[in-house]
């Protein structure tokens, strides 16, 4: 299997924006059959209303038991083995398994629970800003702030030893890099499971107060070790990559739109709306998970037979002129735009309240600490091949 050298169509970007051909698709026929790197075609859905409709309808659009890439890269692996490897991975599950696990996890991510974490997140943010300030300008915002803050937060929440981060931060990042050959990514996934298996075993022997320990203590009978591994891995990966990239690329977006940067600096109480607007405008998760049609369906006037793969372009949906006026403008004064950057439906991001809390603390704290923040270079290191869009590094000065 060869390394891919072109970015998959649904992930194509022009800086912060979806690639022009994707916006044209949305404003034209809306849905199109596209080739995928796995050798099978998929239907790419690009409009807001259609994306929301697909995500809301788990009866007609299911998570496939076996994705095409799993057939291509792991032909020798049995369905049973695949099910074992996907245990606890909420993104790959359908009701009723999904419902059972999600209900167990939901109490850990309530708005009230997140508010209780607020002081600790503030502390973590300020500590990292202290170090940045001490070490002096310039600094790489990714490695000194955007990555370590959410990484430490999710480690503390889950009960993953932060001092082991060297082991999983790099692996997590390569796992989501589509330019890494599939076989290698499958290997990385196995390594992740092996790491988490060890951690789960340690937790089962001595369950702590953190999320993994709580799951063992309170749901030890209802959740299998395999499921704990899947849950732990999913939350660890999701907690690292998403918020981290929002913090780096979000800061760049504000700096490239100085009026918005100044407005947020002057009126930090706008942060809640600013976070939603940055989420909408940037859509760092390019795509919802791939679905398979369980019956014949029609999307944007296009007939799609049962058994076809459907992919969802979140960046074009969030920039749909049918959703809002002037969609390509970053405007933090917008309020109440119902974007799909966290997804929609049953698989709507479990960690959304945590991500929002981290961002609403981190952005204003960064602007407060370094009001003269600026990018060192006019060039930006966009991560084009990454399942979660963002920056690989970001040199800032103040």
């Amino acid at each position: 299997m060869s390394e891919i050298s072109t970015v998959p169509i649904h992930m194509r970007r022009a800086g912060f924006d979806p690639a022009p051909e994707l916006s044209e698709l949305r404003d034209g026929e809306g849905v199109r059959r596209i080739p995928t790197q796995f050798g099978v075609d998929a239907w790419l859905v690009t409009r807001f209303a259609d994306v929301r409709a697909v995500l809301s309808d788990v009866e007609r659009f299911k998570q496939p038991a076996r994705l095409p890439f799993q057939s291509a890269s792991m032909p020798d692996i049995s369905d049973e083995e695949l099910v074992r490897r996907q245990a606890g991975n909420l993104l790959a599950l359908n009701p009723p398994e999904h419902t059972r696990l999600r209900r167990i996890l939901t109490p850990e991510f309530t708005v009230r629970r997140m508010r209780r974490m607020e002081p600790r997140i503030q502390e973590i943010v300020e500590e990292h800003l202290d170090v940045m300030e001490r070490n002096g300008s310039p600094a790489d915002l990714v490695s000194s702030f955007a990555l370590p803050v959410p990484s430490l937060v999710i480690c503390e929440l889950l009960g993953v030893p932060y001092e082991e981060r060297a082991v999983f931060q790099d692996r997590t990042s390569r796992l989501l890099d589509v330019s890494v050959p599939l076989e290698q990514r499958m290997e990385l996934q196995l390594e992740s499971r092996a790491y988490m298996a060890e951690l789960v075993a340690r937790t089962q022997a001595d369950p702590g107060e953190e999320l993994l320990g709580m799951l063992v203590r309170e749901h030890g009978d209802a959740v299998t070790a395999e499921e704990l591994i899947g849950i732990g891995n999913l939350l660890l990966v999701a907690g690292h990559e998403t918020t981290s990239n929002m913090l780096s690329i979000g800061t760049l977006a504000l700096l490239r739109n100085p009026d918005q940067f100044e407005l947020l600096k002057k009126e930090p109480e706008r942060i809640d709306d600013a976070v939603e607007e940055l989420m909408r405008w940037l859509s760092v998760v390019h795509s919802g998970t791939a679905k398979v049609t369980t019956t014949d369906v029609e999307i944007a006037g296009q007939h799609i037979p049962a058994g076809e793969l459907v992919m969802l372009a979140l960046p074009t949906a969030n920039r749909d002129p049918e959703l809002l006026d002037n969609p390509d403008k970053l405007d933090i004064t917008r309020h109440g735009v119902g974007h799909v950057a966290f997804g929609h439906g049953l698989h709507h991001c479990l960690g959304a309240p945590l991500a929002r809390m981290e961002m609403r603390i981190a952005f204003p704290a960064l602007l407060r600490r370094f009001p003269g923040l600026r990018a060192v270079s006019d060039e930006a290191a966009f991560r084009s091949f990454h399942v979660v869009y963002g920056l690989s590094s970001f040199e800032v000065a103040w």
Binding site: R103, F109, T110, V111, R112, G338, F342, C349, A352, R356
Partner: protein, 68 residues
């Protein structure tokens, strides 16, 4: 809008995303399991905009308005 707003919350459909609580905590809350609790089933007019927004943006479709 002569009729007062009436909200319904289906606790069996709710996935506990908490969007409604973040949008209008005077009307919506979550129980210890994260599932929606309706504090004011007929919210006063001052909350109408926020309530409509919460209903529109609810990821699971657990919230509905009576006039819809």
């Amino acid at each position: 809008m002569s009729e007062p707003l009436q909200v319904r919350a289906d606790r069996n459909v709710c996935i506990g995303a908490g969007m409604c609580v973040m949008t209008c905590e005077e009307v919506f809350d979550q129980d210890d399991d994260g599932i929606v609790l309706l504090l004011l089933p007929t919210p006063p007019a001052e909350y109408a905009t926020a309530v409509r927004q919460a209903v529109r943006n609810c990821p699971s479709g657990a919230l509905t308005l009576r006039d819809e």
